[in-house]
Symmetry: C2
Subunit: 263 residues, 2 copies
């Protein structure tokens, strides 16, 4: 209990982990609403969202007491409450920087246009693309960032540009007034305080999968046997440079781009 300003509930104290799950619940709720389900229990909703029902109830309790004991939650009402909490009752204009495959996929992404988000403009540096339209969205040059952001009151920017230009693009977005950034480029962005960066990194997810896949196949190959030479007995290597036992596959690196094709 970290001593909230008020009754330790709802005023400003929703845990980050809960916030991250609200969109999941919202999606499940929409699916139920489409099937004309008026009311849902925590058990059903939890199953639909792929979480444990106790967790769901605790999460929802952070927003307030919107359920009815013995009955469940009114679907439409809960949709409204969760949407409001997430700030989706208003429309968010978004600027997408980088009109490669990823930028295009994002612009056409189903959940994008439909639930509170709108593509204000796309930005790309390729002169052949500037001036064209992608999925109904006009593509502007990088110099138009400031104008677009100001004009449409953009607060959210998505960076789908190559890693090499991600930081400079980010700087321009921030300077123009963007305070929330969704970064797809595989770099750590540096931003001033008060700017919120979220990262989506495809290759990190793959690497995590690879780890578990390796573990699975290792334990299948020789169950409860210890993995070959994990720890402890490396030659001490007196003179600074340690011998690298096996060279890691490493062709191109560092200059990894968020988008190798396109922009």
């Amino acid at each position: 209990m970290s001593r909230r300003t008020r009754s330790d509930n709802s005023i400003q104290g929703i845990p980050e982990a809960t916030i991250a799950r609200l969109p999941l619940y919202l999606r499940a709720l929409y699916a139920l609403a489409d099937r004309d389900t008026a009311c849902v229990s925590s058990e059903e909703l939890a199953t639909a969202a792929g979480v444990n029902s106790a967790k769901l109830r605790k999460d929802l309790s952070h927003l307030g007491s919107y359920g009815t004991r013995g009955v469940g939650y009114d679907v439409d009402y809960l949709i409204y409450q969760v949407s409001r909490e997430l700030g989706l009752t208003q429309d968010w204009p978004v600027i997408i920087v980088g009109a490669g495959n990823l930028g295009r996929a994002l612009a056409n992404y189903g959940g994008f246009a439909t639930r509170g988000f709108r593509v204000a403009a796309m930005i790309d540096s390729d002169p052949l693309i500037i001036g064209t339209s992608i999925g109904g969205h006009r593509v502007f040059g990088p110099d138009e960032i400031e104008r677009v952001v100001t004009r449409f009151g953009v607060m959210i920017g998505a960076i789908t540009a190559p890693a090499t230009s991600a930081q400079s693009v980010c700087n321009r977005l921030v300077a123009a007034g963007v305070t929330s950034i969704l970064n797809f480029a595989p770099v750590v962005l540096t931003v001033p305080d008060g700017v919120d960066v979220r990262k989506v990194d495809l290759s990190i997810e793959l690497q995590i999968l690879a780890f578990h896949a390796q573990r699975r196949s290792a334990s299948k190959a020789h169950p409860t046997a210890e993995p070959p030479a994990v720890n402890g007995c490396e030659p001490p290597s007196v003179n600074g440079k340690r011998p690298v036992t096996q060279q890691v596959t490493r062709q191109a690196h560092d200059e990894v781009t968020a988008e190798a094709i396109g922009s």
Copy 2:
């Protein structure tokens, strides 16, 4: 301390949170190696990866004692150790199902081909695309999934197909022998035990950003004032159906696709 089978270190006990950060460290290490930096301290590496140095040291200590006190970590050696831990010293053939913009972006993604992953094949249901090549990868029809998986020994599949077909595609992948799935479709996939699913959801990330953006602009508008009518005083609504105060923007839903264009 949850009682490991062995010395409570390294044998099988690397925390999930650590695993999720290893790819980050690996990327920072590659960047350093490219600048011909032979040795790095936990402080520097932590800064490059955007984390706290104590956390980095604790994370690395789970792999073993690969640093030198008073000096730091040998970059090449650490790259090898981290790669091995993640299972990236071997090559992972990956099958991509859905050759829309997202699938194409993934196939061309920089971090994909270079660090232990290889696109074994792409799959799409569009007859116009089947048989063509995308980024050097041949596109097969859905009926070829089993053959491709068996032929190339694929263990990892990426689903970039529309949400409506995601579950059936997933079933086919699992039936063919895929045990790790990276899901881009906005649905909760149901899989048997032993199959690992990771989710990348663009719209969830956006919604989380929107939450924070809303909070920021709210507290800027009226600092330390309480948000208008958050909690507590809804009309009790005796007869089941509660009044919905304001209808949430809701045009199309449920049938949200991972990829609205393309496949």
